[in-house]
Symmetry: C2
Subunit: 108 residues, 2 copies
């Protein structure tokens, strides 16, 4: 249960189109917050909020350099997210439903 709640936070973060687009932008390499801001019609405070969510869920990491903040994707966060998605869709070892539904789960 805690496993699911923790894992779904990344999906919640990616559930907002703007944040998904930010992740896409970062997939090409590190970017300064101000560069990301240029691409969107949102206020600076809103962007800061989005970046905070992306960092808190582990998908993005921030790095301060002087007065700038550079953001980049976390390879570990990406790997964990892929693993989580596989876990909840493949019905194998880690599936939570094993305990909820022992009579019909994970017996293949």
């Amino acid at each position: 249960m805690k496993f699911i709640i923790e894992g779904s936070r990344v999906f919640k973060a990616l559930g907002d189109p703007k944040r998904a687009m930010i992740v896409d932008m970062l997939s090409c390499g590190e970017l300064c917050a101000c560069m990301i801001l240029e691409k969107f019609q949102i206020s600076q405070s809103t962007l800061s909020h989005h970046m905070k969510l992306l960092c808190e869920c582990g998908l993005v990491v921030g790095r301060n350099e002087g007065k700038w903040t550079y953001y980049s994707l976390s390879a570990d966060g990406i790997a964990k997210t892929k693993q989580f998605f596989c876990d909840i869709t493949s019905g194998k070892e880690n599936c939570i439903c094993k305990e909820m539904n022992p009579d019909r789960c994970c017996n293949d």
Copy 2:
């Protein structure tokens, strides 16, 4: 842009812990709505709403049999979701940032 909005719908659906858990349950095989309902402390109308969202984003498919509705994961939906996640995190061919950031994206 439309590509991102469409793709992030699946993540928005999975962003709710209960829906993520439902997906996990379905990963072990098809389940009747009433069986899923037994495992949660939610009303029937709430479950119906969750299942609707999971179906609309393409991750789950419903099948009517008499008065029952059976739900199962969509292999195609799962594959598409994996692909979308890879697209926005790998920075390769399909990355949206190419058009937004042509000077520094997708040149590796």
